[in-house]
Symmetry: D2
């Protein structure tokens, strides 16, 4: 069971002697899947992988509601900032970052979204957020949060135009979303740790930029990660995926596989039941109607 | 270019002599696709169909933001009701109905969602709505809105427990989501048209239920349908789909095809440009990073 | 019973012979009270006035929820615009305008607020809106809505910098919030009525500005005004105020009087009961606690 | 400078010899003002008090945005619960509690409000929340938060009907809003501290109720209290109030005084400037218009 493809990557790079014994792996994160799919594309993957992250019961819930709440929680714990009235720049509008945008708005923040994908950018616009290039957002933001799975999305030329006193936080898997090397290079000295999890970099022009949690996942660095009541669904997916790998041992190619829809439905059904929430079922009349093309106006 | 599979259905049922001349069709709605996929499954479809509705630039925008606003607009125009403080029961949590739920909440309504799909039900719960079986929601709601593509989702046994004075509206393609036959049968007489688009049914126990727009799509019946600024994306999809059918004449099976992703991206890009909104592009460093599995922590 | 002090103003200006017979008047709007208080200050008021608008059951509800919904309703009926993704500039952050801001946001708009009062401006900021001077907002907005009770809040120098195609709407009592004379003077010709309630002014530089409902109250011009379910509380206040004037005939000075708190409480109590909503009452223990300063930690 | 009237109360009860030397005091909280006004009513107050809490720059901001965020922050830090999808019962709809309701909703919670004041109850309804008597809410809630300044608002008969596993939190000044004596009496034993700040009471029927932070102010117990960026305005009010007492030494009665409006405006003006936010000022034409009753339609 892997998170960020860290184990798989290590196995393929430096412990290749272990590869033959491995039936398969399960991957928890978007970041990990980006790497694993690149490996599969290159023919470098040595066993099948179940994309637990792609289960709807995982990424629709864990990434959105879990990351959303816990990221803002991490920022508040690190700084005790009031979010209301602040301009929050959310880098990306994938499932994690839209969770962050939703919660930052819910706490009274004024949210700006940056994206590279025009479809997601348009959704952000229609959801009431401002969308603009990062270089422009960099001039306006009070708090910056990245969750893209990509590298240096908060980079040197952005830092050069930021306001004095801003916060820089990351909620993506690796600590490379904020370019820390560039941040240090722009600074006059090593940063001051002004509060636990807050490193203040003084730039040559006197501005101070505050990096939270050393640019690592802020919800793990400064808070407690995802609440149990959202991780339970991810872990259900992990368990079901491991069982699937075992049940299908020898039948799967060295590719990345998605979780079957019935598994997703079953996890959601159990979760609802645990919350005491009932839903409807199709009547026979409705089932027949949906499967017929002859009825209608 | 079809909407609700009405033309395709008519052609297959009563004008079969025209079928040989048809290169293909394009379908605008969820409801139509349900029918067309049932036809394809039965081997009854006589030409290829492009699922314009499934384009992300269609259903993420038209269904969600267009139907959301225009449905609430239709209800307000029909009744001049204040939405704030009302309990709105939204039947379904697909793209259309989550648009309706979002806007009903945005107008100060207290929203209850009903669903048959446990995953969608769970999303509704996490989005802050109450979810319950329709029979229970029927006792609480002030305003009922369906958008399911299904039949009789507001049925006789629900009407039997509703409060006096409720509104019944539909925003699905066909006027069968509210069981009008049952509603008439429960009533003492033909309904009174108390305002344009409001038919008041007096039940045998004295309660009055108000059916809006005769149970037809309320955003078309009582308002002006979707705003132009969201239909433009759907129509762009229609145009691109028609071109695709022509370009691939003779090469496609009699199946339902999705719109290629590049077409979706292109439509979104043009739309953003028309709004004067810029986004970012990947740097070379980022492109390389995303396509490599060897870099990382 | 007056609205905007129109009757009172006419009586004082041109029908002074009627003044001796008048016991008092009741005023429904903020705009009217501004005028009546100026009259009282000048010693010009010839009879007592009950400020119905200042009843909490009036301005907290009618101004906020009524004007909020019906103003956006008027704009949508006049234009069939999609609000999601638009930048809405709300001029003012009084009760009416914060209702409008709340609903514009609820419909997916991105709201900018302008104010002259620093306290209200700060509330708007903390509520997640951007606040800026009108001249700056004028460059950004897609839709402008004023509800200030003041004059020329959307003025010539603002129009000079607006984007092509913007909408100008007013929801204040008089049609002087948008400077129509300046708008006409900036234009090459009389406006074109491109839809009912939409007058398109073509400026000398080719930009087109669309004035809705001739700058009159857009919720009355293009929609149906406030919903009945919010006016009922205002009218209850009117009725109670009229009774109060009669009961206290001869005892009141020629001033503006507020509605007694018990009347407000009684109206709210009846309204809740009509909605089937119960609330709590103080226990004896709690009543004693609240009235004692000797108990406590 | 007092908070909760604790110092003033102690002075009047047990250190009366100090009273003659006191010029006056300033009070920070709603709870304190309830007590001080009861003292003034009884003629028991020995010096003038400035009601800093009643400054608009205090209670509109500190109570609403400060308490709102920090209360939810305290609950999340104490429990690491996911708020999305939970039913949050907010006891009261004063400035503090509406801040809590707003933020609980913003985090994806489904909020129920209880009140004793019909006007506030009606506002909560119109803001989209469900309002019901506490005994009914007690059966539904997952998380209970009180902020009323009153005693035993979460009482024995409520606890008797609560679901297994609920959280009980308080954000009012004193730890008497949750009836802790009754909670202990309903339990089989002393509570278990299952996490820091979480005391789990096992009831005789097996249900477990979790009291957070021993029923003390949860934002102080489990989080860091109000963010500095909202306390700055309260402290500005404190400083101005102290200066006012000194400037008016000997001229004030032993009553509770409100902060003059100009002071409020000045604090807001400085705060906006510190955030780099500009607002508009009245033009001469507008000033004249607002002070004249002769202009108009």
């Amino acid at each position: 069971m892997d998170d960020g493809a860290d184990v798989v990557s290590t196995l393929h790079k430096s412990r290749r002697e272990l590869l033959p014994n491995i039936i398969g792996s399960t991957e928890e994160t978007t970041t990990g899947l980006v790497r694993l799919r690149a490996m599969a594309r290159d023919g470098a993957l040595a066993f099948p992988v179940m994309a637990v992250n792609d289960a709807l019961t995982k990424h629709l819930f864990d990434n959105r509601y879990g990351t959303g709440q816990s990221t803002m929680d991490g920022i508040v714990r690190a700084t005790n900032y009031l979010i209301a009235g602040k301009k929050i720049v959310v880098v990306g509008y994938g499932w994690c970052s839209r969770g962050i945008a939703m919660r930052a708005k819910g706490l009274g923040g004024n949210v700006i979204v940056t994206e590279i994908n025009p479809l997601k950018a348009l959704e952000a616009v229609m959801d009431g957020f401002r969308v603009m290039p990062m270089l422009q957002a960099a001039r306006e933001g009070d708090i910056f949060v990245s969750a893209t799975g990509n590298k240096h999305v908060i980079d040197e030329h952005h830092m050069e135009v930021m306001k004095d006193g801003v916060l820089l936080a990351n909620s993506g898997h690796f600590d490379i979303e904020v370019n820390k090397v560039a941040l240090r290079a722009l600074s006059v000295a090593e940063p001051q740790r002004v509060r636990p999890f807050v490193d203040q970099y003084t730039l040559k022009d006197g501005r101070k930029l505050n990096l939270l949690g050393e640019g690592r996942l802020i919800n793990l660095a400064a808070a407690e990660g995802h609440p149990a009541s959202v991780m339970d669904m991810s872990f259900a997916g992990q368990a079901m995926a491991a069982k699937y790998l075992l049940d299908n041992k020898g039948k799967l190619a060295n590719q990345v596989y998605t979780i079957p829809e019935e598994v997703d439905q079953e996890i959601a059904r159990i979760k609802l039941a645990s919350m005491g929430i009932g839903i409807d079922t199709l009547t026979d009349e409705q089932y027949t109607y949906l499967n017929s093309w002859e009825e209608g106006t």
